[in-house]
């Protein structure tokens, strides 16, 4: 909006010498209009409105457009003529992209296409890929994730893309060393390659990649059956910066120790050895020997053998001593020892990010000792560190005053007083996760001083009430994400305060809160940026509230109204009319019937539906809705519908790329079927 304003002001200045009858837009040069267009990518409707202004704008916009993210592939041919200069094509919303489509688009955008995303698409084969890569020789980036049907033939088609720099083949499980060998020989300019979950790719393929593609910067080899044999070649890559070896169980200490000490990857900046259960500090030190640039190291969920882990942390810290540029260590799920913490504290590297999520041995003393010297720490994750108490929070907040992110879900021993400290001492916080904690209104009021806060998670914080929320809402206008899942003490007043104070709100979760009524939704309808709304199990919400949301929040893309028994077809009708951006909806247990569902089917972007236990739903209504919904990619249905729907309908849907998930879940009457008793606060779950 702002940029459009600028354009208008320019136009006004230029307007004076002209007669009032001429088209005021004619004065704008194409260059200026293009400049305006460059700034219009925030709002998806902006460019649409722009091109509908006049013929010349339409023409300019169609020539200007570089990025295209079509909703449905069957509409793609119409865009061929309109947008001749598309260079980035994102087909992630098109579940069905077949070979003819690929043929057509590759011959249309032969010269311009640089990047294509096929990660969510199916039904194309190596033939289509072959024509794509032969025609569009300028392709630089290709995302073929999840193409589980692609074989080595497709890989040999990819090898035609001589200019390819970024390639993702994650989960292409049929591609073998042979295919990777073709890519290695063909795509010599590769800089980034993701082979995660390509289970048939082994040492030979990776070795050839490392031998032939010398430009590689980033290499993701997660979960491959590889050993140190290929690492010998990989660490010789002169430009390698990111190396991800997550879950490579074939890599072990013995193998890593055979790596030549002289040959090391000097450029390496990030190393991820998560889930490598056979690697301890000895293997790590062999691998990172000589990598002076190392900035980030991720060792989450290492060896499950506790004996090994105990050694890791103390010795590991020692082997990190020389890496002065180290900024980030993630030790999620490891066992931390006192000696390890001490050794880590003695590292002179100023950490920016530390992650101890689910670390068993992390104590107050350890954490306090460690953070003493870390004045520059920005991000700290102590999720589920259940030994942490007030003392830790005290020392963390007093030392690390520039924290921007603090995640401390389920730190159950931290008392409510500690949260006051966070608000007082960490004014730069942008993200705070205090899910399942003792925080109360006093704490929340204190946290409202963190005016930059954009993500706040208060799920299962039963001590929070409207009072705290009201204070918070008035102070944190930048809030984008708020989680109030099962924070049962809040009601409409609190939500209203948030809606008033946080116009940037994009995502809110107020599931399973009894006191929430339509009024909350009516106030939330003021948040025009709202994209995701979850009101599961809010019994006080009806179609009226939902209608207000539908009318007010045009950007809404994800909606979860499961178990809102009072939402009827009327709500759906308005939703169908206004929420044209809706992509995902969960309608389970609602009082919606065939009428509502068929109405919803008119939403052209709706891709994902969960429809379990809709009392008023008949097989015919369901079939009609399914057939009308052209963009559907995933539908969750109760298994009882399976025999009732005609096979031809299911076949038709599946041919269009829709996947059905049949569920056998029994009907649940209660809100808390698993007996978590979350409604009764945390006292009952706090048994030591």
């Amino acid at each position: 909006m702002k940029t459009q304003g600028q354009g208008q002001s320019k136009r006004k200045q230029l307007h004076h010498p002209l007669s009032p009858h001429s088209n005021p837009f004619d004065i704008l040069t194409e260059e200026i209009v293009c400049n305006i267009l460059d700034h219009l990518h925030d709002d998806p409707f902006a460019t649409k409105s722009f091109s509908l202004t006049c013929k010349s704008f339409y023409f300019i916009e169609s020539r200007h457009r570089r990025i295209l993210k079509p909703l449905r592939p069957d509409l793609l041919p119409r865009t061929f003529h309109r947008y001749p200069f598309v260079s980035h094509l994102d087909l992630s919303l098109c579940p069905r992209v077949d070979d003819p489509t690929l043929n057509d688009l590759s011959s249309t955008w032969k010269a311009t296409l640089r990047s294509i995303n096929l990660s969510r698409s199916r039904f194309f084969t190596n033939a289509g890929l072959s024509s794509l890569f032969i025609n569009c020789s300028g392709l630089v980036e290709v995302d073929l994730c999840n193409a589980t049907h692609l074989t080595d033939l497709a890989a040999s088609a990819i090898a035609e893309a001589k200019n390819l720099e970024r390639l993702s083949l994650a989960r292409c499980k049929l591609i073998t060393d042979m295919g990777i060998g073709c890519i290695a020989v063909g795509c010599r300019k590769l800089k980034s390659l993701c082979l995660k979950w390509c289970l048939r790719v082994g040492d030979l393929g990776v070795q050839l990649i490392a031998l032939k593609c010398k430009q590689i910067r980033s290499l993701d080899l997660s979960y491959l059956p590889i050993t140190e044999k290929c690492l010998k070649s990989v660490i010789r890559l002169q430009h390698l910066e990111d190396l991800i070896l997550e879950g490579c169980h074939g890599i072990d200490d013995d193998g890593l120790s055979t790596l030549e000490q002289s040959q090391s990857c000097k450029s390496l900046k990030m190393l991820n050895l998560s889930n490598c259960q056979n690697v301890t500090h000895t293997g790590l030190s062999a691998l990172i020997n000589g990598t002076e640039q190392l900035q980030q190291i991720i060792l989450a969920y290492g060896s499950s053998v506790s004996q090994k882990i105990l050694k890791v942390t103390s010795d590991l810290a020692k082997c990190l001593l020389t890496y002065s540029k180290l900024q980030s260590i993630k030790l999620d799920g490891c066992i931390i020892t006192w000696s390890g913490i001490k050794a880590m504290a003695s590292l002179d590297a100023p950490f920016k990010e530390l992650s101890f999520s689910k670390c068993l041995g992390l104590t107050d003393d350890g954490l306090s000792f460690l953070v003493q010297s870390q004045k520059d720490l920005r991000k700290l994750d102590i999720t589920c560190c259940r030994k942490i108490t007030y003392n830790s929070i005290d020392s963390v907040t007093s030392s690390c005053t520039s924290l921007t992110s603090l995640r401390m879900e389920s730190c159950s021993l931290v008392p409510k007083e500690a949260f006051v400290l966070i608000g007082e001492r960490c004014p730069f916080l942008e993200e705070l996760d205090v899910t399942d904690n003792e925080i109360d209104d006093e704490g929340l009021k204190s946290i409202s001083r963190c005016s930059k806060l954009s993500i706040l998670k208060l799920g299962i914080c039963s001590n929070i009430s409207d009072e705290g929320l009201a204070k918070f809402g008035s102070c944190c206008p930048l809030l984008k994400e708020l989680d109030l899942y099962r924070s049962i003490a809040i009601s409409d007043a609190g939500i209203a305060a948030i809606a008033d104070g946080c116009p940037a709100l994009e995502m809110i979760n107020i599931a399973y809160n009894d006191k929430i009524t339509d009024n909350s939704l009516i106030s939330l309808s003021k948040c025009r940026m709202l994209k995701a709304l979850e009101i599961r199990g809010c019994l006080g919400v009806s179609s009226i509230g939902l209608s207000a949301i539908a009318v007010g929040c045009k950007q809404l893309t994800v909606l979860d109204i499961k178990k809102c028994f009072n939402i009827h077809d009327n709500g759906m009708l308005l939703l169908a009319q206004f929420s044209q951006n809706l992509k995902q909806i969960n309608l389970s247990y609602c009082s919606v019937t065939d009428v509502g569902l068929v109405a919803l089917a008119s939403l052209s972007r709706l891709q994902n539906m969960t429809i379990l236990h809709l009392a008023g739903l008949t097989p015919n209504g369901l079939a009609a809705a399914l057939l009308a919904c052209r963009a559907l990619t995933k539908v969750k249905l109760h298994a009882s519908f399976r025999p009732l729907l005609s096979q031809s309908i299911l076949g038709h849907m599946e041919a269009h790329g829709c996947v059905f998930h049949w569920r056998h879940k029994a009907f649940q009457k209660e809100m808390d079927p698993k007996g978590w008793k979350l409604h009764f606060g945390r006292s009952s779950s706090e048994v030591p």
Binding site: D152, L153, L174, M178, G179, G181, G186, G205, L208, L211
Partner: protein, 485 residues
């Protein structure tokens, strides 16, 4: 005594039969050529032999391993009893047929006779081996026999003794076995059995020699250079009998042949390897030159590299200067001028599924990747049918098994069969498929192999057919035998 009389009589019916007694008959190529052996049983026997060899070894080993076990002994005794009964039946059979056979000295009768003899042999061998395992002290005699079995590598050591044992009035085959393995060429004989044409082995040896010779650096002038003419090189035989003119590929075979020309050739001196005596004297090293001018192996070439042996010369000349007339029947593309090369290729043809874009095939994936890493622009070639069977060349190592499947499905003893005979065996089956007895007989071996061998040296059923009968190599005739039963 009946037997003693009979066997020589029949043996004299044909030339072949004579040879059977003569060690030189085991020059297999000749036997195949002889019209008499156009019978397909020759092939069958070739296939089965290695298996049975394995069986025999297993048997011996089993008995070696056995400790003093009364129950096992009882088993063995009852087995012996059974065998002796069978032996009796057989002898009766022979007596009963004597007149008839004498009256009709035709091929059929000969074969029947051979069959009976074969069965006889097998039973005797079993008897002896079982009897040996009865006594703790017997182990020694057995183990004394065992090396001859194992060393000879094939059944040759067993065949002979049993055959001669028959002639000599049931001499213990052990002794015979030792004697045969003591012969200078016994190893040769047995090795040849695996092959239809014995020159395969010759040329394999050759190839090795030529390879070894590559690195040799003799100072010029320190050796004598010989150059054979083209015709000489391409001649099929190099050793000719001075009496009858018959040609041989090996001198040893010629010497064996010479024995048939008179007693003077049977002396140890005449039979001994001539080179051995001269080995003590300092001889001038001989090297060979290729007659093809311009060839690096030609003595006139600037960087002349001599060939080490005549065999090297032969192979070199054929490979380098002759047409490649042998075409692989599987891929129809690869051509060879040396038949051994073809055989070697056929062993792997089709198994080399790791293919480079340049057309080179590799039997191992890492070799292909090494090749691709080395050459610019070469890339792995993805076979088109791979799309249909994506599981295809993904896993290493299982390729051989897959390729062997055909063979093992029919015979179930691929591990024991040498790969050369595998090709033959598959052809064999086609030839014999109309004869059910012949077709199934290999399967009965199979059951033999797996059927509780450690308790019983042989399953009680099917003995006469599946036992060592076929040890008499070409002389036993399966179709006929089963017809009699």
């Amino acid at each position: 005594m009946d037997l003693k009389d009979k066997v020589p009589q029949h043996a004299s019916f044909t030339q072949h039969q004579q040879k059977w007694e003569d060690p030189s008959i085991l020059d297999y190529s000749r036997r195949v050529e002889s019209p008499f052996l156009a019978f397909n049983q020759t092939h069958t026997s070739q296939i089965k032999v290695p298996v049975q060899h394995g069986v025999v070894n297993e048997l011996v080993q089993a008995s070696k391993v056995q400790d003093w076990d009364p129950s096992a002994m009882l088993d063995n005794l009852s087995f012996l009893e059974q065998k002796i009964h069978q032996l009796q039946d057989l002898v009766h059979l022979i007596i009963g047929r004597k007149g008839q056979v004498l009256g009709r000295p035709d091929e059929l009768a000969v074969q029947q006779q051979q069959l009976v003899t074969a069965d006889l042999t097998s039973i005797i061998v079993q008897l002896i081996s079982t009897a040996g395992s009865l006594l703790p002290s017997g182990k020694h005699t057995l183990s004394a026999a065992t090396p001859s079995l194992e060393q000879s590598g094939q059944f040759g050591g067993v065949v002979f003794p049993s055959a001669q044992g028959l002639n000599d009035g049931f001499q213990p085959p052990n002794a015979g076995g030792c004697r045969v393995s003591g012969l200078p060429n016994s190893v040769d004989i047995s090795r040849k059995h695996g092959n239809e044409q014995n020159h395969i082995i010759e040329e394999h040896e050759l190839k090795d020699e030529e390879d070894v010779e590559e690195g040799e650096s003799l100072i010029p002038g320190t050796y004598e250079i010989l150059q054979l003419e083209k015709e000489e090189i391409l001649a099929p035989h190099t050793h000719f009998c001075t009496i009858c003119g018959k040609g041989f590929k090996r001198d040893a075979n010629l010497r064996m042949h010479m024995r048939g020309h008179g007693d003077e050739y049977k002396t140890p001196g005449a039979l001994a390897k001539p080179n051995k005596e001269s080995g003590s004297e300092p001889t001038i090293i001989k090297r060979y030159s290729c007659p093809y001018t311009g060839c690096k192996r030609n003595k006139d070439h600037k960087k002349f590299q001599p060939l080490k042996t005549i065999l090297c010369v032969k192979n070199h000349y054929k490979r380098t200067h002759c047409d490649k007339s042998y075409i692989c029947s599987r891929c129809n593309t690869k051509k060879f001028s040396v038949i051994a090369d073809l055989k070697t290729h056929e062993k792997h043809c089709g198994k080399d599924k790791w293919l480079c874009s340049c057309g080179t095939t590799f039997s191992r994936k890492d070799k292909l990747f090494g090749h691709i890493a080395l050459f610019q622009g070469h890339t792995p070639a993805i076979p088109l049918e791979e799309a249909k069977a994506p599981a295809g060349p993904s896993d290493q190592g299982d390729s051989n098994q897959a390729a062997n499947k055909v063979g093992s499905m029919n015979f179930n003893f691929s591990s024991n069969v040498s790969s050369e005979s595998e090709v033959q065996s598959s052809m064999d089956i086609k030839g014999n498929v109309d004869d059910p007895a012949c077709y199934f007989s290999p399967l009965s071996f199979d059951t033999c192999n797996f059927g509780g061998f450690h308790e019983f040296p042989r399953p009680p059923f099917d003995d006469s057919e599946s036992s060592l009968a076929f040890l008499l190599s070409g002389s036993c005739n399966y179709p006929q035998k089963s017809g009699e039963d």
